[in-house]
């Protein structure tokens, strides 16, 4: 069988060779012996030359003429820069006429102020005011330059050393605004390809930092350690390359959207098990938690070296402005050139840095102010336990006391309207100043809205009883 096929093929090939060779056999043109294959090659070259001389084929597409572009530009109508202005947008916050201490003046009337995060009661402190005034007389108000170009004043360096000494870390770095601290720190350490596991209740500053870092962001349920563990497990199990990329867990010590406290001991255990780094935002817990006010790590008894990066805004307990970040020497040094909020912005006004130093000195010398704050929070809890229609939703130790509606109306917007009615009436009728949650359109947080009360060590017992009575009365009228 095979040999028959072979015979047929050889016969066919012979036949082909004979045909090619026959007419030109033994023909010699210009001394070149003409073989059959030359004919094929000449034909191929001829075909190629023929194709090259044809016009190339472009798909039919008419380019737009100038006039057509002009018409398209004429037709295009942009949306307005702002959406239609609704009634709720016209609401104005109350205007203060004196310092925002435990008692302040609004519209000529004295009110009890539960809306300022003045946890240690340092607003109006004489020593701090004196240090500010001497700083103002020596350095003026602004620092007129970024830290790299003669904006570094010796009080900044003193403040950084003082805070590092207080926290027990090697070094710290000062930022000129509280909210810009976290959204500059996160992009400095997290780049594209890194993994960040973050609580879903973090505030807008953290969300903005996460977006700017372009890393892979995974949310876990608010303050739920089981959800965190399962997320970490899933991420490390599936990802074989997980060892080579940087991985972070971002949490707040006291969440300003709900008043919950993050369980740091659990988080550190999980971090060491799965090899993640922790970024902790201590804006509302610095100067509040712990026996001497050193924050969440002291409260849980976790050594401070286990937390990689700690950031905090100083606009709360320390009663000044700005923020700081602290950690190991490598962490702090890296930010001096790569953190955009530090490099490209003017530095903190020197008088606010002196105020920070005085505030930290005061805190270290008078730890009794923390026990006063804690007893005030306890007293407020007792008073608010029986408000009709409102329930306390924050942690018993949190200085932000969060009141939620017991029965929600179903939509955030109408809940907020109801709560605003309560806060307005409380202010107008009983001269007590409290505030409800504010949510920006850019905020991705979906936690329930509520009323916030900021407790201060400067509040007296009468103040606390007054706010409880007032809320009880107004809530009964509004939420019946």
């Amino acid at each position: 069988m095979a040999s028959a096929v072979m015979n047929m093929i050889t016969a066919a090939l012979d036949w082909v060779t004979v045909i090619f060779d026959a007419p030109l056999a033994r023909a010699v043109v210009f001394g070149v012996h003409i073989d059959g294959h030359l004919v094929v090659e000449v034909l191929l070259v001829a075909v190629i030359l023929f194709q090259l001389t044809r016009k190339s084929y472009k798909p039919p597409k008419k380019p737009l003429t100038e006039k057509e572009i002009d018409d398209l530009c004429e037709e295009w109508v942009p949306e307005p820069l702002h959406p239609p202005i609704t009634e709720e947008m016209k609401a104005e916050p109350p205007i203060l006429e004196s310092a925002a201490g435990p008692h302040t003046v609004i519209d000529g009337k004295e009110v009890v102020n539960f809306a300022s995060a003045n946890y240690l009661g340092l607003l109006g402190n004489e020593k701090i005011a004196d240090s500010c005034i001497s700083s103002l007389e020596k350095y003026g108000v602004g620092s007129c330059g970024p830290r790299g170009f003669y904006g570094t004043i010796d009080v900044h360096l003193d403040c950084e050393t003082r805070i590092a000494k207080f926290m027990g870390t090697p070094d710290s770095i000062l930022y000129s605004y509280g909210i810009s601290t976290i959204f500059s720190v996160i992009p400095a350490f997290c780049k594209k390809g890194d993994i960040i596991v973050v609580d879903e209740g973090v505030h807008w500053g953290v969300q903005n930092g996460l977006y700017l870092s372009r890393s892979t962001v995974v949310y876990f349920k608010h303050n739920d350690m089981a959800s965190l563990e399962s997320t970490l497990e899933k991420l490390t199990r599936e990802n074989k390359r997980a060892e080579k990329i940087r991985r972070y867990i971002v949490v707040e010590a006291i969440y300003q959207n709900s008043g919950q406290i993050a369980p740091l001991n659990e988080i550190v255990r999980l971090k060491e098990k799965y090899r993640f780094r922790v970024i902790l935002d201590e804006s509302h817990s610095f100067g509040v938690l712990g026996n001497s006010g050193r924050g969440l790590a002291e409260y849980y008894g976790v050594p401070i070296e286990k937390i990689d990066i700690i950031t905090a805004g100083m606009g709360n307990a320390l009663a000044t402005d700005g923020g700081f970040c602290t950690g190991s020497v490598r962490v702090v040094d890296h930010q001096r050139l790569s953190s955009s909020g530090y490099v490209f912005s003017a530095s903190l006004p020197p008088y606010l840095a002196s105020a920070a130093i005085s505030a930290v000195n005061y805190l270290e010398d008078n730890p009794s102010v923390l026990t006063q704050l804690r007893s005030n929070i306890d007293l407020l809890w007792k008073g608010l336990s029986d408000i009709p229609g409102l329930a306390i939703a924050s942690h018993p130790l949190s200085p932000i006391v969060y009141l939620k509606l017991k029965k929600s109306t179903g939509s955030s917007k109408s809940d907020l309207e109801l709560l605003n009615v309560i806060t307005d009436r409380v202010l107008k009728e009983d001269s007590v100043f409290i505030v409800s949650t504010k949510r920006s359109v850019l905020d991705k947080c979906r936690l329930p809205v509520g009323i916030r009360l900021f407790v201060s060590a400067g509040h007296s017992e009468t103040d606390i009883h007054k706010v409880c009575d007032s809320l009880r009365r107004v809530a009964a009228l509004v939420l019946v």
Binding site: L72, C73, L81, T104, S116, L136, G140, C144, Y150, S440
Partner: protein, 508 residues
Amino acid sequence: MTVLLPIPPLVPIPPIAVPGEVRRMVRLTYLTALTTLLGYVVFFVFGFLRDLFRELLNWSKSDDLRGYAPICPPFEDFYTRRIYHRIQDCFARPIASAPDAWIDVVERYSNDNNKTLHRTSTASRCLNLGSYNYLGFAAGDEYCTPRVIESLKKYAPTACSARADAGTTRLHVELEDLIARFVGKPAAITFGMGYVTNSSIIPVLVGEGGLIISDSFNHNSIVSGARASGATVHVFRHNSPSHLEEVLREQIVKGRQPGTHRPWRKILVIVEGIYSMEGEFCKLPEIVAICKKYKAYIYLDEAHSIGAVGKSGRGVCELLGVDPADIDIMMGTFTKSFGSCGGYIAASEEIIRYLKHACPAHLYATSMSPAAVQQVISAIKVVLGEDGSNRGAKKLAQIREGSNYFRSELKKMGFVVLGDNDSPVMAIMLYNLAKLPAFSRACLRQNVAVVTVGYPATPVLLARARICISASHTREDLIKGLKVISEVGGLVGAKCLPAEPEKAKKMD
């Protein structure tokens, strides 16, 4: 136990290309570019070799991190470790006085080749040519400081609260009315920090489906805000209205997606009044005309120009004859000319009302310190003459004359100087990386404090020294500064153009 071979360290190569018209503007010759590049190559080679040695030496040591990736991979901070640390003493110099015309620069020493610097208790008195103190409000002022101290005693350093909660005081309302009146717009809103103003306002105005067209030399805060907004960002060549028109036409026709040609929701063009690294004004009248024609919104960032230019200090609009009503959003900061801190946005009533409702910095961030607010109010009153004296007009005239005199003298000496007439910011081109520390240290030895900038704030080949003139500099100060810069510039080799000695002698 796994044994890791030493991986040769990666070296990051920064972008080197310089566009044609920028090359012409800074007079970059091929010889200069090549020699500068050669300098960088030498640094990189040495840095690479040192990194390699470090890897080899550390190979045998145990791995401390054990399962963690390094928090800072070696190539990310290559520039910091191998280049910036050598010249670290030229940056972040601490001062021990107010940032006025003369400052006390604290002396620092280092025991480990500039890697860490330590402060001493001695300071040297230097002429300050680097701080943004255009109108001289930095140190105490006879009208402003008593009022600031009074406000501090009345309102405390801060309100510990956001503007939307309990942070709004009478002073904040007064400042917003005053700044709106000063700039020429119906309403304004203020924030505690200029950087945060840009980063949080741009996402509120333009979201996904919108287009942002920004100048290629725009500041980092604008870039950060544009990226955070989620809109598509395109860049047009620096200060080129024709290229802006080209980009607009192309984008309106193309639409949001290439296939479906869905139209853009809105287009926002972002420009700055004075570009701080070059000192030149933006071509505002042409850009406004183009934006009006194509119905794009325009956002003007006047961080450096508000209070410093214009006949009455009202900024670039007054100087170039543009009606403020033609610009949709005017942004500015109080740090530079008014000696305070913070930023503002001035626009129509409706836009400001919407921003107050929706902007995250207004709802969440601590409100501006009342003492700083009072400083701005008093400074604006001085500039407008409402304090009862003509100090404001005198300051404006002084800064204009001072900067024009300084710039013309520098040009006569043969330096390549960037910056337009009437602009208080000017840049002397140094190009070469090694000239930066030489210029900076030599000037400091002669008691003149200058600012030198290189990569990454400027393009790689275009390092420069930047001068900011202030209204508190007297004519003698400027002459002393010129003398020192001339001497040091000659030593360093920065006088690239032919000098005009006859004219210079005549001025003396």
